[in-house]
Assembly symmetry: C2
Homo-oligomer: 428 residues x 2
Amino acid sequence: MKLYSNPDRSDWSEILKRPTQTVGDIEATVNEVFNAVAKNGDQAIADYTSKFDGVCLENPIVSAQEIEAAKTEVSESLKNAIALAKRNIEAFHSAQKTDKVTVDTMPGVTCWQEKRPIQKVGLYIPGGTAPLFSTVLMLAVPAQIARCKEIVLCSPPNKEGHIAPEILYAANLCGVTKIIKVGGIQAIAGLTFGTKSIPQVYKIFGPGNQFVTVAKQIATKYGVAIDMPAGPSELLVMADTTANVAFVASDLLSQAEHGSDSQVILVTTCQEFAKAVSEEVQEQLAVLPRKEMAEQAIANSKTIVVDANTTAIDLINAYGPEHFIVATADNDFFVNEISNAGSVFIGDYTPESAGDYASGTNHTLPTNGFSKAYSGVNLDSFQKSMTFQNISKEGIQNIGKTIELMAEAEGLQAHKNAVTLRLKELEK
Amino acid sequence: MKLYSNPDRSDWSEILKRPTQTVGDIEATVNEVFNAVAKNGDQAIADYTSKFDGVCLENPIVSAQEIEAAKTEVSESLKNAIALAKRNIEAFHSAQKTDKVTVDTMPGVTCWQEKRPIQKVGLYIPGGTAPLFSTVLMLAVPAQIARCKEIVLCSPPNKEGHIAPEILYAANLCGVTKIIKVGGIQAIAGLTFGTKSIPQVYKIFGPGNQFVTVAKQIATKYGVAIDMPAGPSELLVMADTTANVAFVASDLLSQAEHGSDSQVILVTTCQEFAKAVSEEVQEQLAVLPRKEMAEQAIANSKTIVVDANTTAIDLINAYGPEHFIVATADNDFFVNEISNAGSVFIGDYTPESAGDYASGTNHTLPTNGFSKAYSGVNLDSFQKSMTFQNISKEGIQNIGKTIELMAEAEGLQAHKNAVTLRLKELEK
């Protein structure tokens, strides 16, 4: 871990800089796939699945039989774990429901705000060596609570043409309405334009590699919303001498194992503590199965020693970490003062893993400093707020003059006229 | 108005198609300005202001003296109208505040969600012939309620180097912290990168012409959030024979006067009513000062006659209008069944103008069918929701096994290890 001791504030932005991703080359590929899928629909999808995933599928839609089979392939202990995580995620996201907000802003002028579900959503679950069924829970559970009508899940098939049983099991458990064996750019293109097999959706959620990330950005050009722009996962740990060295090291490593581009930062007020963590990281690292990946991320990681908690919080807010663990003698200070973070983990016994899997909070969070402006995925991500207003005859008489004056001052005579006509009608 | 009588459902998407905007040419210009501002800061800003706005400014920052002067230039009657509108907007947006959502998902596992302000926001207010001070209210009032720390407003100067007094007056009234005389692409670039004069912000709000719209899209590539993608303004009126022909015509025209690209649609269950509205539109149109603009929009507008309210609501939801006026014998039906609309205006005495100016709801709304996935601007637009969790020793013992099992099933050993270490410590 690279150590910075009391760096000057003017150097912060350089130290905290994330590696920039070049998307130029990828964009051309993404546009090509999008054009092909827009034009040739399912045929293009099948061609790309054959090309990129190395498998020819007769039918990309997961059948009821496949889902039944998946149920028998997942162990009882994992089923129980999934059930518990689902229950916690449900409890936390259900609690986020809000009532209609109604205000009579003036007598006869009733305004209200209501949240209504996004009717059609697409969830993308990456393939790869490990089945990310936890992300199925994180996306499908709130979609179901929000009452989205169509919840479409896309995930790439393996060489045998299958999706991992854990993913099918979790998707079926959480009310996904359609599961399709399609991945990468072609999945996002399918959800954007719709094909015979893939329904067109209004918003696309979920993680993915660089190709999927760029495809989601391109999808927004076609009027589809996305959960948030994505970058490599990040963890910042703020710890002082009261923290447990082994715990801190294990948390840093749990982030590092995500991949060599993972961002891992330790901020501390004590140089000795920083050294102890660094040594402990090397020890724990030695026995990890994903050692090589984690090693690269740790090599790029940073330890920043600062003089005081007040300096630390300024630095952390300047960075805006996706995950923020705080293990200090004054956690309340950090909880109160943190402005920019995706999710905050407080105290020695709150590892990031808890939020990644089972505590109930969502693990789809803003990376790349986006926590300065973006929320993590939550119930509202699957709804949109709409406003309503109902003005009575009395109401328009109370507010009409004001509207007329303002419309006139903005030079919008027809806006004024819509009120004037109504006021005149009432004078009759 | 073009009349469609009971069109087949298969033709809806063609009839409801919005004109596509070509942004290709504009993007090159936007990128050029962005690069120049990123490199040369205020000097580039000054050059573009000279080039595009035709004025050389010594200092683009609006002074306290200019704000004082503006106060004397706005009439007392307009000040009173602004005060009333502001009060209503405040009342409606303050009511949208939500409490911390706290759930103990298991004994010892406490999770909560809190909304915190976006620290730095930029508000863009277009220039042009009429001063859009109403948009200042719509953006600055919720920013202030959300407690955003820096609220920066940019608006282009006129040839004399001034911003309209109505805009300065409203901005000052609503707690804007800095007002800068800069418009167009260079304003958005300045807010994106920051210059000596223009603070870098985390999120940019506000309407604008095609250049501003594309500039906001490009800004997101540099990590800045935006309120929403924008397109030409839209109104769909659903009316039956119980509606007032003159009122409906005046509402259609109030939308049409926004510009020749405004989208105006009337849906009705009665062909005779459609004809009556069309005739009334022509009569009212004749005396409008912005007649030419409105005429073009009306020429492109559509009247769709359908057989029943149930057909109408399907069509309206397929379109997803920005503004939706409903004046029928069964307004409740439409209010209950509308899934996709930015803001809904109910009954004969609720013109769109009310929401545009003074009733309290926000007038920054999703166009171009984005109401299917996007909310209009509301209090949450100026906040992000963050999650927090605090797990006790008892808590990790309750939830630890589940996390271990799930992490292992996803092949993430270090995630598991972060829990295992803690559980072992507690067994000591």
